[in-house]
């Protein structure tokens, strides 16, 4: 009885101490606080787990290498399970903790929080690369380090049109046919569809009926059968990897015979594992190097993955770790610049940090990043890979700004 009492008293005391300390943890030393919102249990957790691990490892790397001009980054990392109401509460918690910037996650939370973020002037570096977030007039504090979804989709369609369509027997006899597979209910999946359709129209494609495929889909036969009538030459997939793999498998099994183009979140090392033979020849956009490729800083990515998450075997790590490093290192650079200028306010980080980046090289195989006060598209180059003979190899790079300078400057910003 005595032991039981002691034990419960100990637990209660521990809880009270933790609670008091939790409430008082807002007062900090010489640290810069950064929040990170991740999805490890929700709709996008298939790619979110690896990203979350990458964020924590990258921040360790920054801190181990002098931090932000000598100040350490204190990372508050939360899982919100892709639940938007919860994202809002967590965002307010970050504000309360006085985080100077937030590493966000999906299109759902990022677009939902965009008005609030703009009002509070807190830079929000998301893993959502929606083209809607690139217009500073509308979303001044939303930033990211990647090729935006619209540029990715335009790049994928363009490269397929340049490289693959001329090899088809029907080339020159008819228009190429394209159809889009995505979850219509998801802003993430559907955010680049308008741009993709515009690009396809511009290049003279015939566009087939959209197929709504859930992010959780494990069977897509009805959608593939619906597409069989249209006989597409190529499909554009904008879902995450599990759903894309299911679509590829069914497409292969039912003999659809179309090529496949995949946006970055559906194109990672797990795709061949999940889709098997159906992944052969799949083309995708990857703004960063795949995990383990020989590019600057990859050795550090591997070293920190081993050091901080030894329980996760390296062969299970994916490109999303590299993505996370790009976001974290990009933010760290902006913080360093703003700190040097003596202004770590939200506006300072934006104007004296991000918007001073011109052709900034992060490493990790990502194209140079440029932000201006009027254009937050970080890069105009879409790096297009092809999965062939068991490995991802660079198929082409297309610079949309060089190829369509007028449209890039005047028409394509913000969608």
């Amino acid at each position: 009885m005595f032991a039981k009492n002691m034990w419960s008293k100990f637990i209660i005391s521990l809880f009270i101490v933790a609670l008091v300390a939790g409430f008082s943890s807002m007062a900090g030393a010489e640290t810069i606080k950064v929040g990170s919102l991740n999805d490890m249990t929700g709709a996008t957790s298939d790619v979110g787990k690896d990203y979350a691990l990458g964020i924590a490892e990258a921040i360790h790397y920054v801190n181990d290498n002098g931090g932000i001009n000598g100040k350490q980054i204190k990372l508050y990392q939360f899982d919100y399970g892709y639940r938007i109401p919860e994202a809002l509460t967590k965002y307010n918690l970050f504000k309360r903790l006085k985080c100077v910037a937030i590493l966000g996650w999906g299109t759902g939370d990022t677009e939902a929080l965009a008005p609030t973020v703009a009002r509070d002037k807190i830079p929000y570096i998301s893993a959502s690369y929606s083209g809607h977030l690139c217009k500073p007039e509308k979303t001044p504090y939303n930033l990211f380090f990647a090729t935006d979804y619209s540029t990715q989709s335009r790049g994928l369609i363009t490269v397929w049109f340049d490289k693959k369509w001329p090899q088809k027997p029907d080339y020159g006899k008819r228009k190429p046919r394209i159809a889009m597979c995505y979850m219509t209910a998801s802003p993430f999946s559907s955010s680049s569809i308008k741009a993709a359709k515009e690009q396809a129209n511009m290049l003279g494609f015939e566009i087939g009926p959209d197929q709504s495929i859930s992010l959780f889909a494990i069977d897509t036969k009805s959608q593939i059968l619906a597409l069989k009538e249209f006989k597409p030459d190529v499909l554009l997939h904008t879902n995450t990897v599990m759903s894309v793999a299911a679509t590829l498998r069914d497409s292969y099994a039912l003999g659809l015979g179309a090529d496949h183009l995949v946006k970055c979140w559906g194109y990672d090392e797990n795709l061949p594992k999940l889709a098997g033979k159906a992944a052969e020849g799949v083309i995708g956009c990857a703004p960063w190097a795949f995990f383990g490729l020989d590019v600057p800083l990859m050795d550090k990515v591997i070293e920190y993955a081993k050091k901080y998450n030894p329980g996760v075997p390296l062969e299970k790590r994916t490109i999303h770790t590299v993505q996370a490093w790009a976001s974290a290192l990009g933010l760290a650079e902006a913080l360093k610049r703003a700190d040097k200028a003596g202004d770590l306010s939200g506006e300072g980080i934006l104007r004296k940090g991000f918007e001073t980046m011109k052709d900034f090289e992060i490493g990790l195989g990502i194209a140079p990043v440029t932000y201006t006060a009027t254009d937050h598209r970080p890069q105009s180059i879409a790096k297009i890979y092809e999965y062939k003979n068991g490995k991802f190899s660079l198929l082409d790079e297309v610079d949309l700004k060089k190829r369509w300078p007028d449209k890039w400057a005047n028409e394509w910003l913000g969608w």
Partner: protein
């Protein structure tokens, strides 16, 4: 003394006394104290984070009230309530964004409150439509028809058609300054908090008043035994549909309130899981109790946040603890429902009632 404490028994002599809101001076005092805490103390003490937590509780209460009415008071099991919240949110948003309001209505901040009312009616009528099968089916079959409401409304109509209105893409964002109530632009957590309080209090008053009227008694009769209710002359179909309408109406208010909190919506804000969550709220709070709805909402939102804060200092030693908390939270949610079902099937409201009675009857509380 007796007018203050209601000591060991109830001495009401007529129904008016029996159904009075505040039956003793002491209860009146407690209520005034509660109002002071809600309207003065919390706004003065709470920072933006805690206000947003309160707003989250308010949103959950508004959402769960309709579920409580259907399940707890009318016996109609629903698993599609998020659909009616979505209808309210989208109606209000579209009215604000697309409807050509006369200038004076925008200037005087009447447009948004008006849109809440229209949203509530639209959601009520939409809910009533999905309540029609309740005339023929009940139990598990009704669960399936209400789930259909979720899929037809959110996944099909809202996603495929409503979201396309105005060509904005999936996410609707409300420009700053458009959500205005009278002279106040709702642009801070504090203002959202006050609006939430007013809406929650209004909805609770509506619910409580309905429940102590003929309508409420009919609902409870249907819940307890629909055949007996019909034998007693209650028009079962009419009252079931009325329950669906009122539940949808309050759900519509919840949805219209939600847009003031976040100023942006997409179909992802109203997943089927949210309908299930609201059922969890009333199970934990107590089925068939308005108090239960509020306690359940507080439990589901505040307790989890407090736990999260409590583990934050430990995260310095175990950094992954913060990330892993959601796993714990999900598990805690499941475990809490199991434990409540086993040990406290009447929910937190019953526990509250016991505590209250203990003090009311003290020192003879045996």
């Amino acid at each position: 003394m007796s007018t203050i404490w209601l000591p060991c028994g109830v001495y009401h002599q007529n129904y008016v006394q029996d159904h009075a809101w505040w039956q003793t001076k002491f209860i009146k005092g407690k209520m005034i104290l509660l109002f002071i805490i809600l309207f003065v103390v919390i706004p003065l003490v709470a920072d933006s984070y805690w206000l947003s937590v309160c707003n989250q509780v308010g949103y959950t209460v508004l959402g769960a009230l309709g579920v409580q009415l259907l399940i707890g008071f009318c016996g109609q099991i629903t698993l599609g309530h998020a659909a009616f919240i979505a209808v309210g949110a989208y109606t209000s948003t579209l009215l604000i964004l697309e409807f050509p309001w006369p200038k004076f209505m925008m200037d005087f901040g009447i447009a948004y409150p008006f849109s809440i009312l229209i949203a509530a009616f639209t959601a009520g009528i939409w809910s009533l439509l999905f309540g029609l099968p309740s005339a023929r089916v009940k139990g598990f079959y009704l669960i399936l028809t209400t789930m259909a409401a979720q899929f037809i409304t959110v996944d099909f109509i809202i996603t495929q058609y409503v979201s396309q209105i105005g060509g904005r893409g999936q996410a609707f964002s409300l420009p700053p300054g458009t959500i205005k109530v009278g002279p106040w632009v709702i642009d801070s957590d504090l203002k959202v908090y006050f609006m939430m309080l007013v809406l929650v209090i209004l909805c609770v008053i509506i619910m409580v008043n309905l429940l102590r009227s003929r309508v409420g008694r009919a609902w409870v009769a249907i819940r307890d035994n629909d055949i007996s209710a019909e034998v007693m002359g209650i028009n079962v179909v009419k009252y079931k549909l009325l329950a669906f309408f009122v539940a949808g109406f309050i759900g519509g208010i919840a949805g219209a309130f939600w847009i003031s909190n976040i100023a942006a919506i997409s179909p992802e804000h109203f997943p089927w899981f949210w309908s299930l969550w609201l059922v969890g709220v009333i199970l934990i709070g107590g089925v068939g109790s308005i108090h239960g709805t509020i306690f359940g909402s507080i439990f589901m939102v505040v307790v989890m946040e407090v736990l999260q804060l409590a583990i934050m200092p430990l995260a310095d030693i175990y950094p992954k603890l913060l990330m892993d908390f959601l796993f714990i939270k999900e598990a805690a949610f499941g475990l809490a429902i199991c434990l409540f079902m086993i040990f406290e099937p009447n929910g937190l409201a019953y526990r509250w009632w016991q505590i209250k009675n203990y003090f009311n009857l003290w020192p003879f509380s045996y």
